[in-house]
């Protein structure tokens, strides 16, 4: 069943136990002291280990805000964020650093997400420098590994971002997220700037990585055609509110909210038969 009740917090949790990420009643306001309309209002969602939940909505609907709050980049005004049962809503300093081993991100903008003054190798080594005291050879080996995972040659490590095309840069950004073998990756529109063949490769890559490592994804997107390849559940945000929530099949077969229907139409899958679950 899909629900349009934004305050619903009774998400089913996995029989095996608690969800990996549990967001409860989260509000974020960019204005000081919570004045003005919040960017997201009372949003609840959970992600189980090895699961992909898609957060769908138009630009400005608050998708990225939620992602940034989970990553600790934007402070929450109200509500709690639990990661693996721990309250991490206001985690900072050493705790946030510890958390960053398990929670990583891939952002949309392949041009801005790499520091132009660092080589690809330097960028990829960064999380390793923070978290471990590995030897140079180990670091280099890991960099080669993740570059191979995203389909780039090892020699890419020595080059600067400007020497890569947009699609290649996005793969580098994904490689950076993979370096620490995280348990949750917040993917904020990770493929919308990529061309179709790379989009397909990256989507397949996300699927393969999940199968192999059991990583969970919070997959933020505006494109339902892409989302259905990955997500088991979908949450639709509209102007900061959750307006629809359910398993992927439910949402595709029986979208309640007009905005969801508009998104389905734009994805060219209006009236398409519900895809079968994986």
């Amino acid at each position: 069943m899909t629900t349009t009740d934004a305050t619903d917090t009774t998400d089913t949790t996995d029989a095996t136990g608690r969800p990996l990420l549990d967001v409860r009643g989260l509000s974020v306001s960019y204005h000081r002291r919570g004045k003005g309309t919040p960017a997201i209002r009372d949003v609840s969602l959970d992600i189980r280990p090895g699961e992909t939940v898609a957060l769908v909505g138009e630009s400005g609907s608050g998708k990225s805000t939620l992602g940034r709050a989970v990553l600790g980049l934007t402070p929450a005004t109200r509500g709690t964020i639990l990661f693996d049962g721990q309250d991490v809503t206001h985690a900072a300093g050493a705790r946030r650093r510890e958390l960053s081993k398990s929670v990583q991100a891939v952002f949309q903008d392949p041009n801005g997400s790499l520091n132009p003054a660092l080589t690809v190798g330097q960028t990829l080594a960064e999380p390793l420098l923070v978290h471990s005291r590995d030897e140079r050879s180990v670091v280099l080996e890991r960099i080669r590994e993740v570059l191979a995972l995203v389909g780039l040659p090892g020699e890419a490590a020595g080059r600067y971002p400007r020497q890569f095309s947009g699609g290649q840069r996005q793969r580098i950004a994904i490689a950076r997220a993979l370096v620490m073998s995280p348990r949750l990756i917040v993917c904020d529109e990770p493929v919308s700037a990529l061309d179709l063949s790379v989009q397909a490769q990256v989507l397949n890559l996300f699927t393969t990585l999940q199968r192999e490592t059991g990583v969970s994804y919070l997959f933020i997107s505006h494109d339902l055609a892409v989302v259905r390849h990955l997500a088991q559940r979908i949450v639709v945000l509209y102007r900061g509110d959750v307006v629809e929530k359910g398993t992927t099949e439910e949402v595709y077969a029986d979208a309640r909210h007009p905005y969801t229907r508009r998104l389905l139409a734009a994805a060219g899958i209006e009236g398409a038969p519900a895809p079968s679950a994986r």
Binding site: R97, A105, G112, L114, A117
Partner: protein, 642 residues
């Protein structure tokens, strides 16, 4: 040993730039002369030669003498050491305090930011001169104490500069990414922010040096700092001014030295900033395309057969025509072709689409046509004609005139094209006025008209907004309006919808079509999205690894693709793929420029490959009326199927 080679490399880089080398050499000589005065100066600073008071330059006294007959050159040299020490104390204190503070509050914001910014306001409102006088009185005319005060008084200004630059850099996605990687504020600041703003800090430090130089000279001139007869630049100025009606000479070398030092500092700061910026931003938007037919690319160009552009006349009234264009770039590995032998024509009122994977050279093709190739890249072979004129020999001025008017550009990132400081109305008026001589009122009318043309409801309201106050889709409409300001005959749209929502993407494509129908403009649409190509383009060109591999009417290309690459690219569409199975992909990656195979560029990834494919360059052929393809099998298959 390695240090020496690094030093030599830096030195060589510096010496190649006169704007750094000249001021650096001047300042270096001044420093050597000042700190080595004891050994180098011709006379002790106090040695008076009463027979030669107020003399002009002579062999004995190259810079003349002052009213007591003391050698001006020697005194300047002895006074220099104090001057430079004073500058160093003040500026080092400013930098050491202000830069870390500015970085931290710029990245962290929060209460510390509020407190420090308010403190800065308070400090800046302290009357500096009065404070200096008090300190000098309290500390028995200690210049060191005065310089510490000046250094601290300059902290708020420098901190603000660093903070606001940090705020800007801090908004970059890669800073967010670094934080997500677990980097603390300080590490983010050092690795990601500081290198980006070092140039700015240098420029401001140079200004602070100049300020300190002038203040220190002033203090000494009114006799509050260095006590005469000890030499100081300021004291010498004061001295010279007393005897101005007898001889102007002594004021000239002293004043000149202060002026030259100040100018050298400023020029050096600017030069260093530019050098630092060049290190990582490889491209400059102003670089005109150059053509060097004679020298040719490093790759054996002669071996590449001339393309068959027999299909080109299919475009009526051509506005742009690229014929056999090869773009070559200088890289660390030598000259490398980025696109090779690309021919295309866009007729009036027509839309040609460029489609292909990332890195295939779609943007390079567009940039070659716009004269916007990055630094080091140039059209090395072939011709670019716009409205029948070969633009190969155009200089920057001619290109600018052309770009504003006849050709226009819409990029993927609308926000980048719109300056956040100005209102939409201002931006549009500016754009309009660079093309036509219009009064402010007329320009506003035209701006309004442009917004109406891009179908923005309520244009009067939007004219007053700033780019940050409008949505991405609206921003793309505005940037299209800016592009339309010069009534272009050809518009190059590089991924104009990629950054937008699916629901908005369609609208933008339809908008471009409508505008085109109304204005008869030619459109070159670069996209990786088959949906966009299908919706917008009359003709589709598929590019792979720098070459056009297939071309024809969009319908034909999409429904009956001939080239193996086109087929696989079409199949990789997530919209068409079945859920639960891997989406079909093309294994492998596009070979980068410089690593293209001899034969078919797609050979490594092509499942239909035969021996012939890898032996020699493959020519574009025209096996059917609507078919142009670069594949050895193209003709044969066509024969089979028809």
């Amino acid at each position: 040993m390695p240090d020496v080679s690094v030093l030599r490399r830096v030195l060589r880089r510096v010496l190649r730039r006169p704007r750094i080398a000249i001021p650096a050499v001047i300042l270096l000589l001044e420093l050597i002369a000042s700190f080595g005065a004891r050994w180098l100066a011709p006379y002790p600073p106090q040695q008076a030669d009463f027979t030669a008071a107020l003399a002009g330059p002579s062999a004995k006294h190259p810079l003349g003498t002052d009213r007591l007959g003391r050698d001006v050159l020697s005194r300047l040299m002895y006074g220099g050491a104090d001057t430079f020490r004073e500058i160093a104390i003040a500026v080092v204190i400013t930098l050491v305090v202000a830069v870390p503070l500015g970085l931290v509050i710029g990245l962290r914001r929060g209460p510390l930011d509020a407190v420090l910014m308010r403190t800065a306001d308070v400090v800046m409102s302290i009357p500096g001169i009065i404070l200096l006088l008090i300190v000098l009185a309290l500390f028995a005319q200690s210049m060191t104490a005065a310089m510490v005060v000046i250094g601290l008084l300059s902290v708020p200004g420098m901190m603000r500069v660093v903070r606001s630059a940090t705020l800007t850099v801090g908004r970059e996605t890669y800073v967010a990414a670094a934080r997500v990687s677990g980097l603390g504020t300080w590490r983010v600041a050092r690795r990601h922010v500081l290198p980006r703003i070092t140039g700015l800090i240098l420029v401001n430090a140079a200004l602070a040096c100049v300020g300190t130089l002038l203040i220190a000279s002033g203090i000494n001139a009114i006799g509050l700092g260095v006590k005469p007869p000890a030499p100081s630049w300021g004291g010498m100025m004061a001295d010279a001014s007393q005897t101005l009606n007898e001889s102007v000479w002594p004021a000239i070398p002293t004043g000149g030295l202060i002026a030259v030092t100040a100018a050298a500092l400023i020029v050096l700061g600017d030069g260093l900033r530019d050098m630092l910026a060049e290190r990582w931003s490889g491209a400059s938007a102003a670089a005109p395309a150059r053509r060097r037919r004679a020298s040719g690319p490093a790759v054996a160009a002669a071996a590449v057969p001339e393309s068959d552009d027999a299909w080109l006349p299919a475009e009526p009234n051509p506005v742009v025509r690229l014929t056999g264009v090869t773009v070559t770039a200088d890289t660390a590995a030598g000259a490398v072709d980025l696109i090779s032998d690309v021919s295309l024509t866009v007729g009036q009122g027509r839309t040609v689409g460029l489609v292909g994977e990332s890195g295939c050279g779609k943007s390079m093709t567009g940039l070659a046509l716009l004269g916007l190739l990055p630094n080091g890249a140039r059209v090395s072979l072939g011709t670019v004609e716009i409205d029948g004129v070969d633009v190969g020999s155009f200089d920057a001025v001619k290109w600018r005139a052309l770009r504003g008017g006849t050709i226009a550009f819409v990029s993927q990132e609308p926000m980048v094209a719109l300056d956040p400081l100005f209102t939409i109305g201002h931006l549009l008026r500016e754009a309009v006025r660079t093309h036509e001589k219009l009064s402010r009122r007329q320009a506003t009318l035209r701006a309004r008209e442009l917004l109406t043309q891009v179908q923005i409801p309520d244009p009067d309201r939007v004219l007053k907004l700033r780019p940050s106050q409008i949505s991405g889709g609206m921003a793309q409409r505005v940037s299209i309006a800016v592009a339309l300001a010069g009534r272009p005959r050809i518009l190059v749209a590089d991924e104009p919808t990629t950054a937008l929502d699916v629901t908005v993407q369609r609208e933008i494509v339809q908008l471009l079509r409508t505008i085109q129908r109304d204005t008869g403009m030619a459109l070159l649409m670069i996209s990786h999205d088959w949906d966009v190509i299908a919706e917008a383009c009359d003709t589709a060109l598929v590019m792979y690894a720098g070459q056009v591999v297939e071309a024809g009417p969009t319908d034909r290309v999409m429904t009956a693709p001939v080239h193996p690459y086109t087929r696989r690219l079409l199949a990789a569409n997530p919209r068409l793929a079945a859920v639960g199975e891997p989406i079909p992909t093309i294994p492998g990656t596009v070979p980068p420029p410089g690593q293209w195979p001899v034969g078919c560029h797609f050979a490594d990834r092509c499942p239909d490959r035969v021996d012939r494919c890898t032996q020699a360059p493959i020519a574009l052929t025209r096996p059917g009326d609507d078919v142009v393809a670069r594949c050895v099998l193209a003709g044969e298959e066509l024969e089979v199927s028809s």
